[in-house]
């Protein structure tokens, strides 16, 4: 009996041989997808890659398939990155894809459209979800390449417009296989920082292939879940990526993004200037108002009060003055009347008045008026009459009446 080997040994042998073939271990296969199935339980992708003449079975395990940024579909032309070997159980030669991306314009567009439709249906692009940007962000996180032109543009524009802000750079790779994870890391690193108020994801212009990573579903979901507003600026004005749709604001270029993220210092300066003007005007009008109130309202009122007070006092004064005059006049005429009466009385009692009627007064040596009966013989007296007087000597004194008590008889 000839030597034989069993099927398992055969397949193992074949797999070993294939494993030694270096090109098979790291290859990129270009082919169209057909017989595409996603295993309902395991989540692994099974499909066939074919071109015009041949076909090969292909598999993509769930862990890798999860990272795809597009939905593989039958008829789609893709580049499959991975290795090719024998599946021993079935003796099937197949490609194990680690990564895939659409190849060619048509396929890429199809994938893009499919993803866009899916995310749109989920509400990731909803206008209600778009958040406003902070007016004067103090700290902006920027996810971009450290050496790219985009960073230079952004720095230049922000330095000119609003140098008060601080840029926090998450340096990432924006192109190539690792770009997706790198950008995701950048977003996560920045969103977890408390000082970051806004995240800008940007990249300069490039081919559609170069910009492809920004159509990543994982990046789209990360941006949607990001607690901070996200601005996207990828490529040039005509380039639209899935990121642009999900971002809170899409800028056509990195420079434009920088303009949209920060205010213009010239505008703020003129705002401050007009604050100054308005404050100046306010203080002046406040002064003016106070002055007006003082110079019109207050003195006017004071003068009015003063004037009426003066008028009242004047009237009072006049009344008092009239009363005083009246009282004085009354008193005077009363006194005059009394004086007149007294004068009459005095005149009637005047002892000299009788002299005019021929009578004479007897005055002794001292000028005192003496009754005749009190004179003694030999005494010098003066007879005072009306307008004349005579000096006499008493020769004797007699009484006219027969008075028994008369001691002496006087003789004139």
């Amino acid at each position: 009996m000839a030597d034989y080997i069993d099927v398992t040994t055969l397949n193992r042998l074949a797999r070993r041989v294939l494993a030694q073939c270096e090109p098979l271990n790291n290859l990129i296969v270009c082919g169209e997808i057909s017989n595409f199935t996603r295993h309902y339980k395991s989540g692994h992708l099974y499909f066939t890659l074919k071109d015009a003449d041949s076909s090969v079975k292909a598999v993509m395990f769930r862990d890798k398939a999860r990272l795809l940024n597009f939905e593989p579909q039958n008829g789609m032309l893709v580049l499959a990155y991975g290795n090719a070997t024998l599946y021993e159980r079935d003796g099937a030669f197949q490609v194990y894809a680690d990564y895939m991306r659409p190849f060619g314009a048509g396929a890429a567009q199809m994938a893009f459209d499919a993803l866009k439709k899916k995310l749109e249906a989920e509400g990731l692009f909803a206008a209600e979800h778009k958040r406003p940007l902070p007016v004067m962000p103090r700290c902006i996180g920027i996810v971009t390449s450290k050496t790219g032109a985009a960073l230079k543009d952004v720095c230049q524009v922000m330095g000119r417009r609003w140098p008060l802000t601080r840029l926090l750079l998450a340096p990432v790779s924006v192109q190539g296989l690792e770009a997706e994870d790198s950008i995701l890391d950048g977003i996560h690193a920045l969103e977890s920082r408390r000082d970051v108020e806004l995240i800008l994801i940007t990249r300069g212009g490039g081919s559609k292939e170069d910009l492809w990573v920004f159509n990543s579903e994982r990046i789209a979901r990360a941006v949607y879940a990001c607690p901070k507003p996200v601005v996207s600026a990828v490529g040039h004005e005509i380039d639209y990526t899935i990121l642009d749709y999900v971002a809170d604001l899409r800028a056509p270029t990195p420079s434009a993004a920088a303009e949209l993220c920060v205010p213009d210092q010239n505008r703020i300066r003129s705002e401050i200037y007009s604050f100054g003007q308005n404050i100046q005007n306010s203080i002046q009008s406040a002064w003016q108002m106070c002055y007006n109130r003082f110079s019109t309202a207050r003195p006017e009122q004071a003068m009015r009060i003063q004037r009426s007070a003066i008028a009242a006092k004047q009237q009072q004064t006049a009344e008092i003055s009239a009363r005083i005059t009246r009282t004085a006049n009354d008193a005077l005429s009363r006194k005059q009347a009394a004086l007149g009466a007294s004068a009459g009385m005095a005149a009637s009692l005047n002892p000299y008045a009788v002299l005019s009627r021929g009578y004479a007064m007897v005055l002794d040596e001292t000028g005192g008026c003496r009754p005749v009966g009190a004179l003694r013989p030999g005494q010098n007296i003066t007879l005072k009459g009306d307008g004349a007087q005579a000096d006499c000597t008493v020769t004797s004194v007699r009484s006219d009446r027969e008075d028994p008590y008369e001691e002496s008889t006087q003789k004139l």
């Binding site: 890391d185 100054g276 308005n278």
Partner: protein
């Protein structure tokens, strides 16, 4: 005199507040005069902040967030 603002934004905000208060008709003149002096300081502060500002750029290490490895050398965007 009040304390200097902690930031440009606070300075600007306080200026806005001062203007609004000064434009109220019932603000007493004495208060207006005080506010006026404060505003002058704030304007000076804000202008100085703008004059002396220079854009600062810091770099962070994205790997600290620990999401996934493989941060490569940054690529040129062009």
């Amino acid at each position: 005199m009040k304390k200097a603002p902690k930031s440009f934004e606070e300075g600007l905000e306080r200026l806005q507040g001062i203007l609004a208060r000064m434009q109220e008709p019932d603000t007493p003149l004495a208060e207006s005069v005080k506010l006026y002096a404060e505003a002058a300081d704030l304007i000076q502060y804000c202008n100085k902040a703008l004059d002396s500002a220079k854009l600062k750029i810091e770099e962070i290490d994205t790997r600290l967030s620990g999401a996934s490895a493989g941060v490569g050398e940054a690529d040129d965007g062009q």
